[in-house]
Structure formats: C-alpha cells, structure tokens
C-alpha cells in the first residue's frame, strides 16, 4: 500500500499537469471587459489538484496516513482475480452491447455471473438471464419509450417480434 499511495499521487499529479496544459488552449488570465478567460477555471483548479498531490506526497513521506504506513499489497491474488473476473465481465458486457444488443448482452452477462461466478443452478441462472432482459425491454422500450442499442442486423427478427407486441 505504501508504494501504491505514492504511485497514485504521482499519477494524479501527472493528470493534473496534463489538465493544466490542456486548459491553456483557452486564455487563463483576466481579459479586460470580458472577465476571466475560458481556460482560467479548469487551469487554476488543476493547479490546486497539483498542490494537493504535493501535500499527499508530503503526508506519505511523514507516514501520517494509514496507507503510507501499511506494508500490505494493494491487491492480493484474490483481489486481482476478482478484478479480472468481475471487472473483465463488465468490460465484456459493454463490448457486447453493439454486437448482440443491450438486452442480449444483459442476458449473457447475467448468465456468466450467476452460473459461472455465482455457481447457481443452471435453471435459476437461465431463468434470471432470460426474464430480466425481457422485463427490461418492456420497461424501457414499452413504458419509457427509450430505445436501447439493438446490435448487428442478425438480431432484427427477435426485435421485430418484441416490437410487434408493444406497438
């Protein structure tokens, strides 16, 4: 954790510098008759962020916060595995939206999580994975009139049946 704390502060300091530099694309000073320039607000806020990173680094050096005193790893093997399986699952879910539609991606993600990660019974996992996207379809498309991504054209026959029901 100790190394992680200073690495995070360093990364955030770099981000602050980048935001300061990006803000200078618009004027950052006071323009007579027009007030502060468009870049002033984000520039000075980013500058305060940079100063805060300096303070965080100073506190780290003094060892005055729990993370700066801890020798534990940021993530143990289980933590990395969780991040990979759950976080990776979410990334996969979002990546699938434009291919098999929002509802298709929901079904696949729910099945992956409940059956593979959650180790629930096949029938329960299948029921949840099929009923939830159908219920969400009727809520979003039918009741709220919000159209979700429908994926590539091969999903059209399924959507045609569902749209026939609500319209």
């Amino acid at each position: 954790m100790r190394v992680g704390e200073i690495v995070t502060a360093g990364f955030l300091a770099l981000l602050s510098l980048y935001l300061m530099w990006k803000s200078t694309e618009l004027p950052i000073g006071y323009i007579a008759g027009r007030g502060p320039g468009g870049g002033a607000w984000p520039f000075w806020l980013s500058a305060i962020m940079l100063i805060c990173c300096g303070c965080i680094a100073f506190n780290w050096w003094r060892g005055s916060n729990p993370a700066a005193q801890s020798d534990e790893p940021v993530l143990d093997s289980h933590g990395w595995r969780t991040l990979l399986l759950v976080g990776g699952g979410i990334v996969g879910f979002v990546a699938l939206v434009n291919i098999i539609s929002m509802y298709g991606a929901i079904a696949v993600f729910l099945f992956y999580y409940t059956f593979i990660l959650g180790r629930h019974r096949l029938i329960l996992s299948l029921s949840i994975s099929l009923i939830t996207p159908i219920a969400l379809f009727f809520f979003f498309e039918g009741a709220m009139r919000i159209t979700m991504p429908s994926g590539l054209p091969f999903t059209d026959p399924v959507f045609n049946i569902l749209y026939d029901i609500i319209y």
Binding site: L26, G35, W41, A67, T82, V91, V94, L136, M148
Partner: protein, 507 residues
C-alpha cells in the same frame, strides 16, 4: 379570501376523483422511476408530459407534480438498498443510508427517509402557502455573487465531510469541478478540455456517468473484493411490529436532521439555479456539525439519512415557488413543468396567482395530498425493497451492474458515456483503496456548471475585484462562513500538531 380558505378550496379540488387518481398513479410511477438508478424526476416528468394532454390542465400539472414527489421519495430507495444514488439529490443519502443497510437496518433507513421526506415536504408546503410572494422577491435579490457564495458554502461543507485527509478531499472536489468543465466553455462557446482530442468529450461529462461509475461499478467492485464475494445478507424479515419500532427510532434519532433539512432545503430550493443538491448536502453537513455524536455520521446515523431526504423534498417544493411566482425554474424538472404550463396556455408569473387562482390553489392543495400519499405508498412498498436486499449477493451484484449500465444508457443514450462509466468505476475502485473520498467529486460535477459562470459574471461585474464576494450584504456573510468552514479543519490540524510538539519536550 384568506389563504386558508383558498387552500381548503384547493385541497377539495385535488381530492376530486380524477385528480386523486392522478395523484395516486403519479406518486407510484414516480416512486419506481426515482428508485431506478439513472432515472429521476426529470425523466419521469419529461416522458409522461405528452400523456397529460389527455386530461384538463389542472389535473395534468397535479399528475406531474405527483410524479415529482414520488421520484424524490424514490431516489432514497436506490441510495439505501443498492448504494447507487439515482439522482444528485440523493448522493448524501448514501453516506449513512448504505451503511445502515449493510448493518441489516435497511428498514430503519427507508422508514427514516420516508418520514423525513414527509416532514420536509410538509414544512415546505406550509412555508410555500404562507410566504410565496415574499420569498420570491428574496430569491430575486440573489445575483451571481450570492449564488457563487452559496456554491462556495456547499464546497466548504465537502471539506467537513471528507474526514481527516483534507488534501484528498480538496483534490476530489477540484477533480469533479474540472470534469464538469469539460465540453464547451459556457460563456465563449469555445471547445474546452477535449481530452486526447477525442470528440466524445465535446458533449461534456454528466453527473450520472460519474455517479454510476463510482457507486454502481467502483463501489461494487470494492465490496466484492473486500468481502471476497461473500456478502452476508443480515436483513431481517419485515413485520408491522418491526416497522413500528423503526418508526419510533427514526422519529427519535432523526428529528434533528429532519428539522434542519426541512428549513435549509426549502430556502436553498427557492433560489433559482441552486436546487435540491446543494440543499441536501448542506443540510447533511450542518446536521453533522451540530450533532453531539458527529463520529457516528458516515457509519449509519439516522440523522444522516433524515437531513438530506428532508432537504431534497423540501427543496423540490421550494423550487416550484420561483417557477409559479416569477416564471423562473429552480431545477431541470420545474423547467419541464414550466414548459407544460406554457403549452396548456397558462402564463407563470406574478399574475398567475390573480388570473388563475383556482389552478394555483388546486396545485398547492395537491402538494399536501401528494406528500401524504407518497408517505403511505412508500411505507407500503418498503417490504418489497427489503425483499430485494435478501437476494443472494451473487444475484444482486450482477443485477446492480445491469441496472447501472442500462440505466446509464437510458439517461445519456451514448455508448461513449458507458465506456467512461467503466473507466470511472475501475479508477474509483483504486482510489477507494487509498481512501480518496469520491462523493465530493460526484457532487462537484453537478455544482461546477453553476459555480463557474457565476464566478466569471461576478468578476466581470467588479472588473476583476474579488472583494465583491465580501462587500455585498448577502454574499459577504455567506462567503465568510464558507471560508471559516474551509480553514477550520486546517487550523484544528495545526493546533493538534502544536499540542503534540509541546507535549514532547515536557515528556
């Protein structure tokens, strides 16, 4: 006619069968829309606006106001049960609502939220009825310096909320404000902070993208990692006796926050452009400051649920005031209501109270009825919300992810925003590991677009002289209180450090 007679007439009007049906349907629909992460009162009112053309204007506005009420109650449900604030007004509710739910006391949190919302709504209704014209003129005296001072006060409250690590809290506030500045410069219209020159950033980053990323994805990943996926569900079964006990406890341990939130929320809600978000946050901060046990806040204090919930309900009624009396909407939802009124041929403004007396008092009467209906409907649905919490975590967690992604898309209709949510979620997971408070960033992204233009307009008014924030009669005291709140923790830390140094030589 005196006010009470007019109000009684208005209440009778709103109790007519059609209007009463509109109130009951509106509140129930609003409750479920508000409870859905990503959807709030704005979505509900906007989506159902066309439906209202089927009924007379009076019933239509009563229906929309009932949705507004229901959604404000519903916002607390997702904050408490799922830990995801569906709207910015409910962010502060997660601070203590979620810890209570984790301790198996979700019903206490939900009952506290419902009661506080009811009291907040009732206090606001009474203030609205008695002081509408006077308060409207006070609201008009708030210019850019006063609004900026108010925003500064809200940011000062964040510093108090962020715990002991002040640099991390200030970093979080500034980060949220910078994220809120992405897109176009509001005054010159020039593109600004288009990160990595990616065009997706031109449309800016909305509150929901960050809120769902942080709470719906980041917080959930953190919970799964910390508990190793084995979150114990210790939510007891609901019973009428249990709810009665919770009601008693909510009244006993949440009254202070309820009263502070009811009054503070209303006055902040009345101000054009301020709205319920700063109101709920300030109420939380003030209640914590005045509490005898401030250490309990953030760990499951009923006062911490009551204050923001009373405030956001009170503010939502308050924000109707400038809309009806001046024609100035106090929040995005009231802007849509204003649009609806114009479509129905009603002209909001000072003449509305004279020309459309029956309509105005019918609406005000419906606020009272909607508030009571929202309390009863909300209490009736609490067992349903509790049942949801008893689901195994390996079913609840993917449901939360699905609702976050689908709800997020429903609000923004842009896949770029969904990818940003995922990035924010993973970033928030790591920042949470290093104790960076993230709520200030989420709230700052909402308040930034209000704070920046008011700061720039104020400085333009004073030709760049910042003393404008100290010399004006309303802005001055607010700015001074805000600065005291910002520097107080630093002074406390310095005193603590000096105290330690003095002790050492003595030893």
């Amino acid at each position: 006619m005196d006010v009470l007679t007019l109000l009684a007439d208005g209440m009778l009007l709103s109790l007519q069968p059609l209007n009463l049906a509109m109130i009951l349907i509106g509140v129930t629909v609003g409750l479920f829309i508000g409870a859905m992460p990503g959807l709030g009162s704005v979505n509900g009112v906007a989506i159902l606006l066309p439906v209202t053309f089927l009924v007379p204007p009076g019933s239509a506005i009563i229906f929309l106001a009932a949705i507004y009420y229901g959604a404000m109650y519903g916002g607390a449900v997702s904050s408490i049960t799922l830990g995801i604030p569906g709207a910015s007004t409910a962010v502060a509710t997660t601070f203590d609502g979620r810890p209570l739910a984790r301790q198996g006391r979700a019903s206490l949190a939900l009952v506290t939220a419902a009661l506080a919302s009811f009291v907040g709504g009732s206090v606001a209704n009474i203030l609205f009825t008695l002081f509408a014209p006077v308060l409207a003129s006070v609201a008009l005296s708030f210019g850019p310096p006063e609004v900026f001072a108010l925003m500064l006060l809200a940011f000062a409250t964040f510093v108090g909320l962020g715990g002991d690590d002040i640099p991390k809290t200030i970093f979080s506030i500034c980060f949220g404000l910078v994220l809120g500045a992405i897109g176009f410069d509001q005054i010159s219209g020039a593109p600004r902070l288009v990160l990595f020159d990616y065009n997706g950033f031109l449309q800016g980053i909305g509150f929901l993208v960050l809120a769902i990323g942080v709470y719906g994805i980041g917080e959930m990943l953190w919970t799964i990692e910390q508990t190793r996926g084995d979150v114990e569900s210790n939510t007891p079964k609901m019973s009428i006796k249990g709810m009665a006990v919770d009601t008693k406890e909510a009244a006993k341990r949440g009254w202070r926050g309820t009263m502070i939130g009811s009054f503070l929320g209303f006055f902040v809600g009345v101000l054009p452009a301020a709205g319920a978000t700063p109101g709920s946050l300030m109420s939380y901060g003030v209640t914590k400051m005045l509490s005898r046990k401030p250490d309990e806040f953030g760990k499951g204090a009923p006062d911490g649920v009551a204050a923001p919930e009373a405030a956001n309900n009170s503010a939502s009624t308050g924000s109707m005031l400038p809309m009806l009396t001046l024609g100035i909407p106090g929040s995005p939802t009231t802007a849509i209501l204003l649009g609806g009124m114009v479509i129905w041929g009603l002209v909001p403004g000072p003449r509305l109270f004279v020309d459309e007396q029956e309509f105005v008092w019918g609406l005000i009467g419906s606020f009272y009825i909607s508030n009571a209906a929202a309390l009863l409907i909300n209490l009736a649905f609490i067992p349903v919300f509790i049942w949801m919490l008893r689901m195994p975590f390996t079913i609840l967690a993917p449901m939360i992810f699905v609702l976050s992604i689908a709800g997020g898309y429903a609000a923004t209709r842009d896949m770029f925003d969904i990818w940003l949510m995922v990035v924010f979620g993973i970033g928030a997971f790591f920042l949470r590991k290093f104790d960076y408070p993230l709520a200030p960033a989420v709230l700052a992204i909402v308040l930034g677009p209000i704070a920046e233009p008011t700061l720039r307009q104020s400085l333009l008014l004073s030709s760049g002289d910042p003393s404008i924030f100290f010399t004006r009669p309303i802005a001055g005291p607010i700015t001074i209180v805000a600065l005291v709140l910002i520097f107080l923790p630093a002074v406390k830390l310095l005193r603590r450090g000096l105290g330690r140094r003095r002790k050492r030589p003595a030893q």
